[in-house]
Symmetry: D3
Subunit: 314 residues, 6 copies
Amino acid sequence: MEKIEIKDMYKYLNQEIDTYLLVTKKELKEGKNDRYIRLNFADKTGNISGNIWNNALSMMDGYGEHDVVKVRAAVNSFKEQTQLNIKKIRKAEPNEYEMSDFIQTTKKEVNVMIDELFVFINSINDEFIKKLLLSIFDDKETLLKFSGCPAAKNWHHNYVGGLLEHTLSVVKICDFASKEYPVNRDILVAGAIVHDFGKIFEYTAPPILDFTDSGRLIGHLILGDEFITKKANEINLFPPNTLMKLRHLIASHHGEMEKGAVKIPQTIEAIVLHFADNLDAQTMGVHQLIEAANDPNARWTEYDKLNNRYIYLG
Amino acid sequence: MEKIEIKDMYKYLNQEIDTYLLVTKKELKEGKNDRYIRLNFADKTGNISGNIWNNALSMMDGYGEHDVVKVRAAVNSFKEQTQLNIKKIRKAEPNEYEMSDFIQTTKKEVNVMIDELFVFINSINDEFIKKLLLSIFDDKETLLKFSGCPAAKNWHHNYVGGLLEHTLSVVKICDFASKEYPVNRDILVAGAIVHDFGKIFEYTAPPILDFTDSGRLIGHLILGDEFITKKANEINLFPPNTLMKLRHLIASHHGEMEKGAVKIPQTIEAIVLHFADNLDAQTMGVHQLIEAANDPNARWTEYDKLNNRYIYLG
Amino acid sequence: MEKIEIKDMYKYLNQEIDTYLLVTKKELKEGKNDRYIRLNFADKTGNISGNIWNNALSMMDGYGEHDVVKVRAAVNSFKEQTQLNIKKIRKAEPNEYEMSDFIQTTKKEVNVMIDELFVFINSINDEFIKKLLLSIFDDKETLLKFSGCPAAKNWHHNYVGGLLEHTLSVVKICDFASKEYPVNRDILVAGAIVHDFGKIFEYTAPPILDFTDSGRLIGHLILGDEFITKKANEINLFPPNTLMKLRHLIASHHGEMEKGAVKIPQTIEAIVLHFADNLDAQTMGVHQLIEAANDPNARWTEYDKLNNRYIYLG
Amino acid sequence: MEKIEIKDMYKYLNQEIDTYLLVTKKELKEGKNDRYIRLNFADKTGNISGNIWNNALSMMDGYGEHDVVKVRAAVNSFKEQTQLNIKKIRKAEPNEYEMSDFIQTTKKEVNVMIDELFVFINSINDEFIKKLLLSIFDDKETLLKFSGCPAAKNWHHNYVGGLLEHTLSVVKICDFASKEYPVNRDILVAGAIVHDFGKIFEYTAPPILDFTDSGRLIGHLILGDEFITKKANEINLFPPNTLMKLRHLIASHHGEMEKGAVKIPQTIEAIVLHFADNLDAQTMGVHQLIEAANDPNARWTEYDKLNNRYIYLG
Amino acid sequence: MEKIEIKDMYKYLNQEIDTYLLVTKKELKEGKNDRYIRLNFADKTGNISGNIWNNALSMMDGYGEHDVVKVRAAVNSFKEQTQLNIKKIRKAEPNEYEMSDFIQTTKKEVNVMIDELFVFINSINDEFIKKLLLSIFDDKETLLKFSGCPAAKNWHHNYVGGLLEHTLSVVKICDFASKEYPVNRDILVAGAIVHDFGKIFEYTAPPILDFTDSGRLIGHLILGDEFITKKANEINLFPPNTLMKLRHLIASHHGEMEKGAVKIPQTIEAIVLHFADNLDAQTMGVHQLIEAANDPNARWTEYDKLNNRYIYLG
Amino acid sequence: MEKIEIKDMYKYLNQEIDTYLLVTKKELKEGKNDRYIRLNFADKTGNISGNIWNNALSMMDGYGEHDVVKVRAAVNSFKEQTQLNIKKIRKAEPNEYEMSDFIQTTKKEVNVMIDELFVFINSINDEFIKKLLLSIFDDKETLLKFSGCPAAKNWHHNYVGGLLEHTLSVVKICDFASKEYPVNRDILVAGAIVHDFGKIFEYTAPPILDFTDSGRLIGHLILGDEFITKKANEINLFPPNTLMKLRHLIASHHGEMEKGAVKIPQTIEAIVLHFADNLDAQTMGVHQLIEAANDPNARWTEYDKLNNRYIYLG
């Protein structure tokens, strides 16, 4: 059986389909006459919701959030959304699907990127800073979380591995800038490496891409700061001034308070990091828009609502 | 000898005065022909700067930052500022002055305020939260720092004890609100107590009121969050959800990102705390403006540049 | 027969239902081939529109705006809206329905609130101010309008009695604040009582909640100011300075010009009133969001578009 | 004796001058050792302050606010301001000065402008509106106040007669626009005539140009609305819809809430009035800047701080 | 056969219609199972899209963009849009339709407006400026483009002839203003004539109203400036200062940078032009809203999303 | 004789000095009793103004704008400014001074930078683009203007050679980015080379750094666009699409309309260029602040008013 991608489901409006989907949320709800099940699904092309209106209680078991399921469903339109009216559902067997069909992932090689990251870590001269970074990334579990994390939910790098990919790009720009401007390269490169580290606490683990509660309530700036500070404090005699500067880079990398910075950049390294972060995030955001415009004849992308523009492809 | 208050010094323009001043900064600078000493002074009525142009090297010793000094100086005007040209300077003897003439201090009784604070702490039902607060405020040194700290540098409560005074007022408003609205009183009152706690790290210790380096680079939101989180983690089984909510109250109490909030309020307690904080800060800011208008015939205060208005006294 | 609540009608998509509804608008329109009737309905759970496409002229009579009607209708979806295609309609008999099912109303006791309001009025020491307030609220018709008025159309307290409920809460906060801050309590409490009074002219009378024309074109600030000024001018020797201060509280209570204030707050009472108003409005707005999240398992409310956030329930 | 204009006084720095000045404020203040008198002066070229440091009590009598005085004074510089240190002061005799040297006045003929205004009033077809306008402007005292009032304190038309001059220009633009666009000319022209009428309550009477207390606390929008509404209510059967539209024109003529509009324009007449008002105010503001650049060789005006620009004269 | 206007098509939901439409875009797309044709249509009442799902390849020929076609189609609703499912399509014969039914056009006489424009051109005293304008508008092809161009895509004057109509209105206001204010009338009137000239490069030629690529990427300010500058440079000895001022009027007529001005107005003529432009654009925008409210009983227009308001019709 | 640098002149307050200065402006003004000469001076450390109060007419000759003069002057303070009261003035002989003392100049080697620029030009593959750039920079006079031009008046790179230095840095960042992102390197690098080219028309020629009239009224975006377009149009068959993209890079490189962009970036190259431009400008701006903090003990720079911050040096 063919899998139908979520982005194409609108083409089956008012038809019945059989396909595979990843369950991202499952709730039993009180309906007017009866209970029903509300489900959220995802695959690597998008999200869709669905309902089981009849015999909800008897259809609650055998599958759950994080499972890939096989469903038979009618495709409906409700409010402005395509929606599934689910008739049958069961957990899929591992051999029925490829997990990679359900998770959007970086197109780059994760291992190669990790190697590159370590080359940068090892290029740092300040022994304390290097020790701090190694104490973080030498931990297998942390590295796994880091390299599996997205860099955003909606805009640029919003896929598994996106955080690693984005981090590495920002590091490269900062490394380049450190040759052009009179900055402290060790502080700048280390700051680039950890600037978004808190995102491993801000997003849920794959395969489901969403905010954690503490991600929404506290955010990656504070959560990253907390972790880095704890790690530095575990290192004997870690210089307080160095730690303060690194923390400032995390606190200020969004550049302006209305963009979420706790402090505006107040060191030259913080300035460079902020603009390097912006350069990569915006360029890749636009690149993703361009890639999504898969019609070879199109002269403009779809409308970019966030920035009120189309991107020219001609 | 009479002390001349800094706010009155402009009246001695082009005259020579003898008076007492608190040294808040002392620097040896390279002048054109020779070195000179640049000094910043304060008393409880304001700040002024001065220079020692001649024989700087021989006049560097015997006094320093944090000392009260006796000076003979000519009052000059440079650029838009009144400034002192210092002829003589020496450290004052303890019996020559009252320290309270050099430090602006809350007009309320510090001990009474501390007692009131503890009444609120003890009114909390949640044992973990109460334990957390006691672990913080039972520490003598912390309590001393807290009760000696200002709540701001320029605007409301910018004096020794201001942080305690402001905190207590916000707590009272939140306590009142907890009777009017369906909130978790324990979380709300505790959040009010610690919302500005990080200011003990953001400001220098009395008698000098200024920002610390980490205050400027990292700020009281993160520094307060760090301390509270550390203290909670020292308590066995402290509920993570409770801690997350408290941290959210600290992170969001400025209300809007452009006003410095890391996150906008996302719990009902965070909403109440933000507006309680604003109510006290703005009301007391205006109250200080009104008090400064000491002319009984004045119908309006001086211009409030921060808010583009005069306050009506009539 | 069971009444189907408007908020549940989407569940009957493409079905035919029989139910009761309040008519809030009735218009005869020119269609392409024929005339049709366009109707707006409400009940205490929301609003919905409907059309009578056939035999419009013969179905125009016997019911009108402000009536509760019994309808038979097909539930359709047009553009992003659920909509009724009406087959039958007639005015309902008084014994068929409870008016309270069609009007969203404060959950508090109106009489108790009125009593509380009078306690505050009578607590005012300034005889002129007290006389002014009594001259307003002793009028039965005015009191009826006031206590039946909502405080907003969409956000907080958007139900019958909401204005009274909101006013009383703001008064209580101001009363509390008058013990904490050096304010003129009489001016402040009176200002709180009348700050939104103009809303009785800004909104239509129940059961229909909408803006009046003068509400949209002139607004409750000016309309309230006009009424209070007229009432004060009817009192012999009412002190002009007192009246000016009360008018300033009305004119400035929105706090900032971009939020609709005619003047920014320029007295300490105006500052307190503004933040008290905000505290109650925002807290109750969030409280209504939380109440609307009636799923006991939900960890977050629905998205709050006005403020770009979810509210945490966990 | 020659009068020295205030704008030229900086040329007499550290010299002693004899000249005539209008007293706009006189206060007896508590100095350090003694009382002193603080005075504000004006002439048609600007404002300056001065002090009487010695023998203040003996120099308090014989002159007051609104008087022209003869002074002998030393010209000093304090902070960034030129200031007078007054040695002698006495009320000037009527034959010593021309009042017109102390008050900045429109360059147009007031009587001609009044005649033009009446031509517009009489051109209105709607009998109620015409009656309303005549009931206002036929009152000699009101007309005198109106024609002696400035239209602003700092920016455009900030001189005696400025309100009449500005009003007439806006009326002319609206009259012109009424031929180009499908508007209700009577409403539009009447709205233009009264749009800033409240300024007669917002500014003090000549010769002193300042805000009144109610001007600052309530503002010309509400004060004007109050007056017009009262006058309309005195006319038997004045149509409520007409009054509502006129009031909307007053309430909305600033165009945007952050510019002080109570309501944004919601009728086509309100749109036209707003832009006509802006066109005249901005053009005349720039014209005054250009006139102030009295150097025939200058290619650019002084910096226009309000709008961050120079105006090109070349 | 009757033509069904696009604005009425929603009334035929789920029915099949025969009608005429202008093709504005035609694309062959890759569908899931097969290719399909996506079409955009327009008439003078609006836009609609449609698809040919079956036998796409065989239905590609015989018609194209800019053609009027006859279609048979089912009217569907997809997402929030009415959409056509096309069954038959063929190019319409010239005698089947009036082109004017497909293009929204100014209601004024184009020839009369052109004559008026030339009267203004000939009223200019400066020989260089007059020569410049004649060199532009005496060119038949340019004049044709100019008089066929809209002044906007969505808001005011968004129809064929709109640019000419808007230009002429702005010229008239400027001409009027030149009698009221001390401006250089030649510069002002000429600036008004050419201020939006670049729109002939910014919009596609009728019958299709859309942006050109260079309109989106470079914009009418620069494109207009380029053309006018080129034309002036072709005139022997054209005074550089005159050209600079004209170019400034084009560069600054949007008034504020966030509204798209390259420079803010820095001459009095630029100020007048900016507000004249605004006056006409906003008034006509509102006028179009009012005209669109074709229900004679309506007291308010539809919601004006751009400005967050309804317009009062009562 | 020693030259006294302008930044040190405040140290000579109320003294008389002899020194050399560059005249940047000379005006004969009407004083109260007599004419006087107003002069503006510069050297590489700043600007100062001065007046010749006596015998102005006899001291007008023998020197002018762009000349270095020898002056004897008293150093005064007027308003918040240090100012010179000039007693003697004469044109300096060439052998009395080094021109380089009067002009702030890039610290990098101009010839080396030019060579680097040409390497980038020659690295471009697209023959048309390369031809365009060579046609511009092969012109000796243009190259001289370009390499002598500042990149700003107040903020970053505000010195002779600053434009070349800034351009080269932006080119390098773009060249680096072209390896990291899927961009058209030829378009991007060429756009970087010409993005600020119009500044050669926006600033006056050395030694005086100021805006030209057309710089203020039209600006470097349009002036640069005009020049590049003219040059491209001189090349036979220059591809219009390539030119349009280059023009878009110039028009959009400020990124946001409120920062002066005519269009927001709508190609991926425009995004990269904007952030590269920002990265260099902000980093160098901060670097200049840091350099200006020449006290080796300072922990913070002077206040950066433009961005409301100090920069940390510790």
